[in-house]
Symmetry: C2
Subunit: 238 residues, 2 copies
């Protein structure tokens, strides 16, 4: 039977999601925990991979098992997992549920703070920006991402995709409790898309002139990628 897991992790001490020999990855840890619980060698599938240092509040994962544990998989896996990865829930789903291909929407948050030195408390949990940010200008700029666009200019190489067209359903920037937070929902994201959008918005926030429509039409190019520790996978919808 197929099991769906909702997973939270602190990406700080992981070499990202994806299994890599000799490295500590979230996928590797979860597969090892399933082996400990069921004795089975299983492969788990996530809604998408996350890079080194990127966090997840609600990553969604599926796997197939012969063990009839259902919701009890959460507690059983947490028993074996390290405290920086937690199974928030487990449930039996139909065999046609697919964590990656079934995802219809994803939301990411990108969290920034302004400062001249890294924060002792936030250095692994948010991205520091030198100087001050104009969050109103950033919010206006973010709204230009909304809609169906070819985001090829907002993709790092290293992934194969059939199309670079994505639909952004919502994109906003707010200031909250000393942080500036960029939140974006789309039907899918290209590799490094949120971090490239964030890098552009940081330029806008610092008062630089950035022509986002031209970037979307690929009449201009951006190469900057904002650092990983500000990025949180918040929600996946099916």
């Amino acid at each position: 039977m197929r099991i769906k897991l909702v997973v939270e992790y602190d990406g700080s001490d992981f070499s990202g999601w994806q299994l890599q020999p000799g490295l500590r990855t979230v996928q590797g840890e979860i597969e090892a925990a399933i082996k400990s619980v069921t004795g089975e060698d299983v492969r788990v599938t996530a809604s998408g991979r996350t890079d080194t240092g990127v966090h997840a509040l609600n990553q969604v994962v599926h796997f197939d098992t012969g063990k009839d544990l259902g919701a009890k998989f959460a507690g059983a896996l947490n028993y074996y997992l390290a405290p920086d990865v937690r199974i928030k829930s487990a449930e039996v789903v139909s065999d046609d549920f697919h964590a990656r291909f079934g995802a219809t929407q994803k939301t990411y948050d990108y969290v920034m703070y302004e400062g001249n030195t890294d924060s002792a408390l936030w250095r692994k949990r948010a991205a520091r920006v030198q100087g001050s940010l104009d969050e109103v200008a950033m919010n206006e700029a973010a709204s230009l991402f909304v809609g169906q666009h070819d985001f090829a200019g907002f993709m790092s190489s290293g992934s194969e995709v059939s199309t670079t067209v994505r639909t952004v359903l919502a994109a906003s920037v707010v200031r909250k409790d000393g942080f500036v937070i960029f939140s974006v929902t789309a039907d899918g994201f290209l590799y490094n898309m949120v971090r490239k959008m964030a890098a552009v918005l940081i330029e806008v926030g610092k008062g630089q002139t950035v022509d986002i429509p031209a970037l979307l039409r690929r009449e201009a190019a951006t190469t900057k990628v904002a650092p990983p520790q500000g990025l949180y996978l918040r929600e996946v919808t099916y």
Copy 2:
């Protein structure tokens, strides 16, 4: 000359503030950094010690030095300090400034979240409470701490004080972004006072009947201490 530092630290990997041979403490790290910068063996004085796992957003510290670095002490010390302790500012102050005895008010935040399992992201930064909390009841209960009271019943042993009377200037509980936060300002705090107040408020939040005036009159006693990772020293006023 006397230097005042404002210090932020992530208490997770420290055995608290106070110097202890063979253990990593914030005081020990700062004194070692000053030695690296000035060549001097100095003793630093904080507004108060914090226990293992307790965090500080704006701890205040003073020390005396012959080196004329002034505000540049911040950058110089940060160069030698580990990233989980940061000097936010440094300034020359008059010789009668005293980080501990000159403090007129301190504010602490105690941050809680509700959950059946520890959060991967917040386990070292907030205290988990099983079940749900009634923050309105907690806020009403917190207001009973306001005023001048003998807080002897809210002190753990292990410190010598001339009086256990303290004046609480403000105490409130709010729900914010999935967290329940108890904030308290007083002219001074006894050892473990905030964590003992938090433990009582958690009982109130869970619907238990707690007679706070009776606890303050010492007609009843409380022994619980809420865990350290929820506690943040937010502000010290002089």
